[in-house]
């Protein structure tokens, strides 16, 4: 029977060993622990690729653009003003067709276990990155699909004639025509700069595909490890040209399930969580905060201006006046959106604070309708999109609320919905009378709202479903694109917005917000005013240890629970 005694001895030794090791684990906390130097971000999905040129998915750009790469230019501050990045300055000729960029000379690429750079960043890297997109003959053009969706959508190939190297630190883009949104496109998350030297090395080893799988960039973090669908591990890039990041390690914990992301966040297994649910649960906790940023999008109610009764301006205005937008925002967006005054969000630099909106006034609406000859009332079809989008989380509910509002001015609304692709196809064919839809900007240039949504040319391309075509409005847009004077452009857009208000081809309803939750000890901006998230500025406050117990600094707890970027001061532009 000696064996059983031995079993017991083994158990007790095992337990003893476990406990002593647990205790000794607590003791080496003199220096910073690994978790104090690192941040875990619970992301909503895996990236499709590590090269944002190849994808327009927000999940991919969040994981790659601002962590691994830099762009030639960046958007700074609340108004998304262009600022230098890899290009320290730039010059545009009078006709707007030649754009010369002067590059920084102190930028180094990542050193990883798969690549060691032998030179600093120079004009060859810029040429390689853009020629890969532009030239079908480029050796890397067709590596990984050969599709560059963002650049195809802005017709980059039709716009850019060529990219020239003037000298090692100067490049010139030659455009076929003037386009004042060109520089803004260079600053989007998609226009990243890759390493030409790395591409050469991969070609030599016949490993071209690795360029988008094992990325090399100039960004503040470099890729250490990616386990497909599970996590991404980044290490700090110690030679980063803007100074190294505060944290040493950044881990994306890929958690597609909303509830498991919330659980991990509440259990403090991740420091920051993307798109959190249960906002109240988070704001109730003293050690967690919820932050939001108004995205560049707009949800709207559009009218088919080619079909009765909405070919009559008075009817469009009457319907616009009869809708209680505030109630829609409270119910459909659960108050998590800003009321849209016009199609352009207030965060755009071209937004003019003097712009007024069509306000809720059912009495005037009734009068207008009577003056248009519809005093006995009319019946209209309202098409509601079948799926959830950030700019409209529930179009059917919104349609029902609008139905109720319009009943008061004697308009009977029939709500119609089709499956999404059928919905879009029938919309482009103009089968509708009115519809609920929205628009998300591809880049923060204001033109990205005005031209695709309402210009005459967009009626043929199928993105202007109101079929509204106004020569004066189009004239203003083209004048705005042909000048690079910001104030002039702003005044043109203000006039354009006045026309939209007067003609009412659509009723802008809301600009929705993007949410993020974080631990109160995480400091620094993560959400950007435009485009993907950025962990460069982020740091972790170390909790003080008293008698072996971790006590948090209590100074921050009095700070506001919801940090809304709109109310925060505009960042200074340093460079």
């Amino acid at each position: 029977m000696a064996v059983t005694t031995m079993n017991f001895n083994f158990f007790s030794i095992f337990t003893l060993v476990t406990f002593t090791s647990l205790l000794s684990g607590c003791n080496d906390g003199d220096k910073l622990t690994l978790s104090e130097r690192s941040i875990i971000y619970c992301s909503e999905g895996p990236p499709e690729t590590f090269n944002p040129q190849l994808s327009i998915s927000g999940t991919t750009t969040d994981a790659t653009s601002k962590q691994l790469y830099n762009r030639l230019l960046v958007f700074k501050g609340k108004n998304n003003i262009l600022a230098p990045s890899l290009a320290k300055s730039w010059h545009v000729t009078h006709d707007g067709k030649k754009i010369t960029l002067y590059l920084r000379q102190d930028v180094s690429f990542h050193q990883t276990n798969y690549f060691t750079p032998k030179r600093l960043f120079n004009a060859d890297d810029v040429l390689f990155s853009f020629n890969r997109i532009l030239s079908k003959n480029n050796a890397y053009h067709n590596v990984s699909s050969g599709q560059y969706p963002f650049f195809e959508s802005i017709k980059f190939n039709e716009l850019v004639d060529k990219v020239e190297k003037i000298n090692d630190h100067t490049v010139r883009f030659i455009l076929k025509r003037n386009d004042s949104s060109f520089l803004a496109n260079l600053a989007t998350d998609y226009a990243v700069v890759l390493s030409a030297e790395y591409a050469q090395q991969l070609s030599a080893n016949n490993n071209q595909h690795n360029i988008d799988i094992l990325p090399i960039g100039t960004g503040p973090f470099k890729l250490k490890d990616y386990r497909v669908g599970s996590f991404i591990r980044f290490y700090r890039h110690d030679d980063y040209w803007q100074g190294k990041a505060h944290i040493e390690q950044l881990v994306y914990d890929i958690s597609p399930s909303k509830t498991s992301r919330l659980t991990k966040f509440l259990a403090k297994e991740c420091d920051v969580s993307s798109y959190p649910i249960a906002h109240k649960k988070i704001t109730d906790r003293k050690d967690l905060t919820l932050e939001s940023i108004t995205s560049l999008n707009v949800g709207y109610l559009g009218f088919n201006t080619q079909k009765p009764p909405f070919n009559d301006k008075a009817v469009r205005q009457a319907v616009s006046l009869a809708i209680n937008k505030q109630a829609l925002i409270e119910t459909v967006y659960q108050d998590q959106a800003t009321r849209a005054k016009s199609i352009l969000p207030e965060t755009s630099w071209a937004y003019d604070n003097n712009i007024t909106e069509i306000s809720y006034d059912p009495k005037r609406a009734k009068a207008l309708l009577a003056s248009a000859g519809y005093s006995q009332g009319i019946s209209i079809d309202l098409w509601a999109m079948p799926l959830q989008r950030a700019y409209n989380p529930n179009a059917i509910t919104m349609a029902k609320l609008i139905q109720n509002d319009l009943k008061k001015i004697n308009i009977k609304v029939n709500i119609i919905s089709y499956e999404w692709t059928a919905f879009l196809r029938r919309l482009s064919q103009g089968e509708h009378q009115s519809f609920l839809l929205g628009w998300t900007a591809d880049n923060p240039d204001p033109d990205n709202f005005f031209t695709p949504m309402l210009s005459c040319s967009a009626t043929d391309k199928g993105s202007n479903h109101t079929f509204w075509c106004n020569k004066k409005y189009d004239q203003l847009l083209s004048s705005a694109l042909h000048t690079s004077d910001i104030n002039k452009r702003k005044s043109y857009y203000t006039k354009a917005m006045a026309i939209i208000k007067e003609e009412a081809p659509l009723l802008p309803i809301a600009h929705s917000k993007r949410f993020q939750a974080r631990d109160i000890n995480i400091e620094g901006d993560i959400l950007e005013y435009f485009g993907g998230i950025n962990f460069y500025q982020v740091s972790k406050r170390v909790s003080k240890k008293v008698d072996g117990k971790a006590l948090n600094n209590t100074t921050m707890i009095s700070s506001p629970k919801i940090i809304d970027k709109e109310t925060m001061p505009i960042e200074k532009v340093n460079n």
């Binding site: 029977m1 064996v3 059983t4 158990f11 476990t18 090791s21 647990l22 000794s24 684990g25 607590c26 080496d28 622990t33 690994l34 978790s35 690192s38 875990i40 490890d225 497909v228 599970s230 996590f231 591990r233 390690q249 881990v251 914990d253 498991s260 659980t263 991990k264 509440l266 259990a267 403090k268 297994e269």
Partner: protein
């Protein structure tokens, strides 16, 4: 002992034959082409397909096909996952150790809690302590594991914030894969954060292991209670009492050891039960083990993975079963004469 060993071995061989036959026949029963179900190569080109047909003897009789299938399995070739085209045997080797680790820790907890409680219940037979422990066991046995797991997360992870709710270790720590058993790998690693990692991994295993341990622990309570009651009623205990030994001497020196032998026999049986519970728990706690992998494969209709996963898991349970039988036989000479494999 030799005949005992041989008997067990033959039992093992025959059981494995039946299991592989079952898994082989699944390829025919699942929808799709048989050879693709065997190999999992969904995007095979015409030449690759011909090659596969040849290696699985698809043009020959079914017996020969089965032989070819066995050969593949014995060489460790389980084919590719139909979903992500990764090697299944590679996936299993990476994931199985995590399940073994979790199950063993859970088994240990179940035994450490269940057996002493059962003994206490037996010693206070028909008294308040006995009924209290029995009702507790009943309660523990009746709680569904998925519900218990969620409750545990809600209470210990979200509410109190004591223990993490998911994974094997915090993603911050990079531990090199050696044995796959995380706690051992950490001790073998030369990371400067070794002890932080060990502490973190220990905290991660507590919650899922305890959740898994609840049901087996209740069974151990009942088993050890019954076995202790038997032993206490036996004549040698009565003799010991008549000799004037005190209570402690009777319980610790005589009763406990004899009662334990009976329990060890059942550990093997309980292990199968425990692994089933572990599979569900792995899903709840996002534990990177074979149970979660298998359940995901079932969701994604990854037939080649389901087939091989089931085979490996049942083989593993069977091996444990036989191992426990050996331990039991080693401890109890009476069992070696047992003519039937059980």
């Amino acid at each position: 002992m030799l005949t005992f060993t041989l008997r067990r071995l033959s039992l093992f061989v025959f059981t494995m034959l039946v299991l592989t036959m079952l898994s082989f026949s699944l390829s025919f029963l699942f929808p799709g082409d048989t050879v693709i179900n065997h190999s999992g190569q969904i995007n095979a080109s015409a030449e690759e397909l011909a090659e596969l047909n040849k290696s699985y003897h698809m043009d020959q009789s079914i017996i020969s096909q089965y032989g070819a299938y066995l050969k593949h399995i014995l060489n460790g070739d389980f084919g590719l996952s139909a979903v992500n085209q990764s090697s299944i045997s590679h996936d299993i080797l990476k994931l199985l150790p995590a399940t073994i680790e979790l199950s063993l820790v859970a088994l240990l907890i179940a035994m450490l809690i269940g057996i002493p409680l059962g003994f206490v219940a037996a010693i206070y037979h028909n008294k308040i302590a006995d009924s209290a422990i029995l009702s507790l066991a009943m309660l523990g046995y009746s709680i569904p594991v998925f519900w218990l797991g969620l409750l545990a997360i809600l209470f210990f992870s979200i509410g109190l914030g004591w223990l993490p709710s998911s994974g094997q270790i915090s993603l911050l720590f990079e531990i090199k894969f050696v044995t796959g058993i995380q706690l051992i790998d950490i001790l073998l690693s030369d990371s400067p954060y070794k002890w932080q990692a060990f502490r973190d991994a220990s905290l991660h295993i507590i919650l899922p292991a305890c959740v898994i341990a609840v049901a087996p622990a209740t069974i151990f309570i009942r088993l050890s209670r019954a076995s202790m009651i038997d032993v206490l009623a036996s004549s040698y205990i009565r003799a010991a009492r008549a000799k004037g030994l005190n209570f402690r001497q009777i319980i610790f020196r005589h009763a406990t050891r004899n009662a334990l032998i009976q329990i060890i026999r059942h550990v093997g049986l309980q292990f199968a039960n425990l692994v089933t519970i572990a599979m569900v728990t792995e899903v709840i706690f996002s534990w990177p083990g074979i149970g979660r992998w298998l359940i995901e494969s079932i969701y994604q209709r990854d037939y080649s993975a389901i087939q091989s996963g089931l085979l490996v898991l049942s083989c593993f349970i069977f091996i444990i079963h036989i191992l426990i039988d050996f331990i039991y036989a080693g401890l109890n000479p009476l069992a070696r004469g047992n003519k039937y494999g059980s």
